[in-house]
């Protein structure tokens, strides 16, 4: 409808693509509230040129789940199990510990694979203060003030504060732990983080250096569908080597059934669309000299029987004039549960040298109107055509 009204597409329209529980991801580098410099989500991106270690998936609207901690303001001792040298008094949880101690929020169960936003006010004195939100201890920055972390649970357990074996002296108050649903992309290796940049039109993008930059999500469970739609606003800065914009699995092919990829370039062509069921199918666009900024979309369908029906790409809102079939058909089956690698194959090879303005992956078939709306959104953020 908004197309008829001539208005720019809004966030809510992209969110509406996922309103029926469709799996996927939506990365929007123009929204600074979704970007953090580190993978733990402790340092927000505030300016162009900063690295991006965590990019939040916007498809579910970044709505936080219910509060998991009972009595996070420590009005009394309810909801917490304390070891010795940990106490609740004066409206805060206090560690005055000479050895490893814990204080567990008994009802705050963190589940493996899910993401949580952990916030609290810290009064720091000494030692190594820590928390655990579902496996994998996080060391708290040793300074007094408000703290915020975004972390993925690697195990399932109740949230707890702790300290290192040498002990610690600190207090916390106003503790909140809430789930942040989504398939968020991150990079734990500092050197391999893309940077936020701004082009001459004032539009923001993630810049990948073509050497070692890349991000990945945890495994995304697409096993309930054999159809997928992908949109991207992107620009390649190099025609030198085949490179990955985004790829579901460590490498698209028969070895990873239910995988897909968008490459740019994929020599000897520019943009390539790859899909694998029991075999690899692949279609490519124009010559690699094409390095203009593009809005790319593709409808992938593993239930189709011919490559031209399995992979239906568009570039800048139209079917490309030169579109080869390099391989196929892909065979049948559903998509798999794999990480989505962004900017690098499997996080190790085929590094993308260029810009990603937007990236949307939807685990469902999209009608012509939805595809056009996704393209319009990406074009509003990339100004490709």
């Amino acid at each position: 409808m908004f197309m008829l009204l001539g208005a720019l597409p809004k966030d809510y329209y992209i969110n509406s693509l996922f309103v029926s529980g469709e799996q996927g991801i939506w990365l929007d580098p123009s929204d600074f509230s979704t970007l953090y410099q580190d993978a733990a989500g402790t340092t927000p991106v505030t300016a162009v040129g900063q690295p991006v270690g965590l990019a939040l998936d916007k498809r579910l609207g970044l709505a936080l789940g219910a509060e998991l901690v009972t009595n996070g303001d420590f009005d009394n001792a309810d909801g917490w199990v304390l070891q010795s040298e940990a106490s609740i008094s004066s409206g805060s949880l206090n560690f005055n510990a000479t050895a490893t101690r814990t204080a567990t929020a008994t009802g705050a169960s963190c589940v493996s694979g899910r993401w949580y936003v952990v916030e609290f006010d810290l009064t720091y004195t000494s030692g190594t203060a820590r928390f655990d939100a579902g496996g994998g201890t996080t060391t708290i920055t040793g300074s007094t003030g408000h703290k915020k972390y975004i972390r993925q649970a690697t195990g399932t357990n109740a949230f707890y504060f702790s300290c290192a074996s040498a002990g610690a002296v600190y207090s916390v108050d106003n503790v909140t732990v809430r789930e942040l649903p989504g398939n968020h992309a991150y990079q734990t290796t500092s050197a391999s983080r893309p940077t936020l940049q701004q082009d001459s039109n004032g539009l923001y993008y993630l810049n990948f250096d073509g050497t070692d930059d890349g991000m990945a999500t945890p495994s995304i469970d697409f096993t309930g569908t054999d159809k997928m739609t992908v949109w991207a606003g992107a620009q390649s800065a190099s025609t030198a080597d085949t490179a990955i914009i985004a790829e579901l699995s460590s490498a698209t092919g028969a070895g990873n059934p239910g995988s897909m990829a968008i490459l740019w370039p994929r020599l000897p062509y520019a943009v390539n669309f790859a899909l694998a069921g029991a075999a690899l199918a692949s279609r490519s666009t124009s010559a690699p000299a094409d390095t203009a900024r593009l809005v790319i979309s593709c409808a992938f369908d593993l239930s189709a029987s011919a490559a031209v029906d399995e992979i239906k790409p568009k570039v800048n809102g139209a079917v490309p004039s030169l579109l080869t079939v390099d391989a196929g058909p892909a065979g049948t089956g559903n998509y798999g549960s794999y990480p989505l690698y962004i900017g690098r194959r499997g996080g190790t090879t085929r590094p993308f040298n260029g810009r990603i303005y937007q990236l949307i992956v939807r685990g469902a078939a999209s009608n012509a109107g939805q595809i056009a709306a996704g393209e319009a959104w990406c074009n509003s953020k990339a100004r490709a055509y």
Binding site: D38, A191, D209
Partner: protein, 87 residues
């Protein structure tokens, strides 16, 4: 504090550099990008480039460190990215 650096290490010292870097927050996973003079395997060098904690850069004394972007650093040393044989 993070600083921008491009770091190249010879293949024979790459594992030592990876182990050393991994001792620091944000250092695990470095030196996975392969380089050689021809662009073909086997890799003779490995590269990492980006915003890196200064303590990591200072610790990697077995590496060549530059403030140049990665393509210029590679060109300076006559190296190219190794291209995998399969696409």
């Amino acid at each position: 504090m993070d600083i921008f650096a491009t770091i190249i290490v010879t293949a024979d010292k790459a594992e030592q550099a990876r182990t050393l870097a991994a001792q620091f927050t944000g250092g695990d996973g470095m030196f996975t990008s392969e380089l050689s003079a021809t662009g073909n395997a086997p890799a003779t060098h490995y590269i990492s480039s980006g915003w890196i904690p200064a303590e990591i850069v200072e610790a990697l004394t077995m590496c060549a460190v530059s403030e140049l972007p990665p393509d210029e650093s590679m060109t300076d040393k006559g190296l190219k990215p190794c291209v995998p044989s399969a696409t």
